[in-house]
């Protein structure tokens, strides 16, 4: 057994080896914060825990992070439950670290908390933005490249600053309606959590909470392929260029078993490619990025005609902007929107039909398949996340349901937090 002195010396040597300096820094941080963790351990090692919150955000991906921050900033006691180990979803865990599109036709159309997070990520990382005054040769040229690692850290910091409680590795297994709202039973490894909340914002991507509650969801026989991102050969330089992409056809994020299958398939193919190309595997994302699973059937359904005509809904709360972009087995042929068109997202498309005290945000937005192929992208999901949280928070404060909150109040709160309101620019 080593004594304390030799252990310290070893650590110093470890830190001095330049190659592992970064890892050493991580060790140093965790060492210094272990005192605080030891104090809270008494609470966290309890198997059962109960939370009383105003708003429960399920899913800490692209939309969920923004929803949680908005709810927290607007004064709602907020808990964010995330099945994975970090925030950011497609942007970070999926590796699609080039969110877009925030601009359309030379003007910004999506701003607010999502843009704030993206902007700070780029600035902290010393990156650069596309020139939005320039007509992009192709839509993807105006996606903003972010460092996925920095983005995840900043997302977490902003949640903490907004006093959002984070619960990683957990997922709801049961949801019951109560007089005050909902009782949501979550399960993680070694833990069970009972959440009593007034509003739920389902940001799971596949509307999992909506499914648990038995509301109608839409699903295609064949879904768009997922993408497993990796880097073969040259080193991975975050926020500089896109990673290599493997299409995983049949990828399905419906449940842990289907997601496992998609990941196994993706990783097996990547390993085969490593062997075939005889190149070093320099980077591998933790899981497949999923494009499509379930969509809700909402109070309003956005059709592809609504989307491509840029219909301004009466209850529009956010913009969306992206070509109709359906990936199939034969690839993808994006259909750009006509000049000047900027679609809008109505509040009704975020509210499951017939539901109360429940709202969604993200790619499960109520829409037909083609409209969804354009709506599902990150900037639009961020806009939806903020709008859904504004409605849910105001519903808590007004003791009502999101769809009954006066639209002017939602617009007012969104505007206060930097969002762009369709038709009000």
């Amino acid at each position: 057994m080593k004594d304390k002195k030799s252990s310290t010396a070893d650590r110093r040597n470890f830190l001095q080896s330049g190659m592992f300096g970064a890892a050493g820094l991580g060790l140093a941080v965790s060492t210094s914060s272990s005192v605080v963790m030891a104090e809270s351990d008494k609470a966290t090692i309890k198997r059962e825990v109960t939370n009383e919150v105003d708003v429960l955000v399920v899913g800490g991906g692209t939309a969920g992070v923004i929803a949680a921050i908005q709810a927290g900033r607007a004064g709602a006691k907020t808990l964010l439950v995330e099945r994975n180990f970090q925030l950011g979803g497609a942007t970070t865990t999926g590796g699609v670290a080039f969110p877009g599109l925030f601009d359309a036709w030379g003007k910004q159309v999506i701003a607010g908390i999502g843009w704030e997070l993206v902007k700070e990520s780029v600035e902290l990382d010393g990156g650069k933005f596309p020139n939005f005054a320039k007509v992009p040769r192709s839509h993807w040229m105006n996606q903003v490249h972010v460092n996925q690692f920095v983005y995840a850290l900043l997302a977490e910091e902003k949640c903490r600053e907004a006093e959002v409680e984070l619960a990683y590795y957990e997922f709801p297994e049961a949801v019951v309606k109560t007089d005050a709202g909902w009782q949501v039973d979550c399960i993680g490894f070694g833990t069970r959590r009972q959440v009593n909340c007034k509003q739920i914002i389902d940001c799971t991507g596949g509307a999992e909470v909506v499914g648990l509650l038995g509301f109608e969801r839409l699903r295609e026989e064949e879904r768009q392929p997922g993408s497993y991102l990796f880097q073969l050969g040259g080193s991975h330089n975050p926020a500089s260029k896109q990673l290599h992409r493997l299409y995983v056809h049949g990828a399905d994020s419906t449940n842990s078993r289907t997601a496992t299958l998609a990941n196994l398939t993706g990783r097996k193919s990547i390993l085969a490619k490593v062997r075939k190309d005889k190149k070093r595997l320099m980077h591998l994302q933790p899981e497949t990025g999923f494009r499509e699973s379930y969509r809700i059937k909402g109070e309003t359904l956005i059709t592809v005609q609504d989307y491509t005509s840029g219909k301004l809904f009466d209850d529009a709360v956010s913009h969306a902007f992206y070509p109709v972009d359906l990936h199939t087995k034969t690839g993808v042929r994006p259909k750009p929107l006509k000049r000047g068109i900027v679609p809008s997202i109505p509040l009704g498309a975020l509210v499951p039909k017939g539901s109360r005290n429940l709202i969604v945000a993200g790619r499960c937005v109520s829409s037909d398949r083609l409209a969804n192929s354009g709506l599902r992208v990150q900037a639009s999901c961020m806009g939806m996340g903020q709008a859904a949280a504004a409605a849910a928070t105001l519903a808590v404060q007004g003791n009502t349901t999101p769809s009954e909150v006066p639209l002017a109040q939602i617009h007012g709160l969104l505007k206060k937090h930097g969002a762009i309101i369709p038709g009000k620019a």
Partner: protein, 297 residues
């Protein structure tokens, strides 16, 4: 050779016919050479005949005319099915410009540009119409003003044209077959064919490549309150034979700006038009592209 020449005039895009025509041409030149070698003395005597000089002069003059292609010659050649300036019919009317392009008997492309309120017939703006592939490479200029300042006034088109000429030369140097759909121009996509026919009248619409019809227009010396001289404006429309449309309006894209790319090379990018622009936006009232496709029943 006469037979293959007439055949090439009538049948568009046939590499077989052009190949045959070239072969008969080379054979013809070889036969002439042999003929001269075998009959040098009697042929020399013909040079004293005035008719020989007259015929030679006429042949040279006709050759020059068909090379330069003034309007009447274009009209004659326009009856041919081959791609080239010969197929262009450009006409200026009171209402605007009408441009017809018939690359195949089964495909007629018309561009109807209605002039706007600031268009002056006395001092017309410079104009270029060209086709680009999906990789933004020039594939064919359909029309360009024949003024000496056209390239200066239409910098975006001139930049694209130059890029295409350079890429073509480079591909020729590398021995790339320019008549095949190759990856020589873009180096990144399949949109690398040098043959406009691959885009306009593809053999299979299922595997067809969309292309763009572009217009650049510029009125010399047209200041506004905020601009000393308004730059040229660019309009475009995408044509996809996989998703055929009979009528499509060209839309204003923006104005060109010269800048350096990441490799430090000069290039032209398009920027969105802003409030500084005025009369330039009224040069064109509308530009309608119509395509008549004759499909076999």
């Amino acid at each position: 050779m006469a037979g293959s020449g007439v055949w090439a005039f009538a049948q568009p895009f046939s590499i077989q016919v052009i190949g045959l025509h070239a072969l008969t041409g080379f054979i013809f030149i070889a036969v002439i050479g042999l003929h001269i070698a075998n009959n040098f003395a009697p042929l020399k005597k013909y040079l004293k005949n005035r008719v020989v000089w007259l015929v030679s002069g006429l042949t040279i003059a006709l050759g020059a005319l068909f090379y330069i292609q003034p309007s009447p010659i274009k009209s004659i050649l326009g009856l041919s099915g081959n791609l080239g300036p010969a197929l262009d019919r450009f006409e200026m009317t009171e209402e605007g410009m009408k441009y017809d392009f018939v690359p195949s008997p089964s495909y007629k492309l018309s561009l109807d540009i209605r002039t706007g309120s600031t268009y002056s017939l006395e001092n017309p703006p410079r104009l270029a119409v060209w086709l680009e592939n999906q990789s933004f490479y020039h594939i064919k200029t359909l029309y360009a003003s024949e003024t000496t300042d056209a390239k200066e006034m239409l910098p975006y088109w001139a930049f694209k044209l130059k890029g295409w000429e350079e890429a073509k030369k480079e591909a020729e140097k590398k021995g790339v077959d320019l008549n095949e759909t190759v990856d020589a121009v873009s180096g990144a996509t399949e949109n690398g064919s040098f043959d406009p026919a691959d885009y306009i009248v593809p053999g299979e619409t299922n595997s067809s490549m969309p292309y763009r019809v572009m217009i650049e227009i510029n009125q010399p010396v047209d200041p506004t309150e905020k601009l000393e001289d308004q730059p040229s404006l660019i309009y475009q429309v995408e044509v996809d034979n996989f998703d055929p449309r009979t009528f499509q309006l060209l839309e204003l894209v923006g104005y060109p700006v010269q800048e350096k790319n990441e490799e430090g090379k000069e290039e032209w990018a398009i920027y969105y038009v802003d409030e500084r622009f005025g009369s330039a936006m009224e040069l064109i009232d509308s530009a309608l592209l119509s395509i008549e496709r004759v499909t076999e029943k």
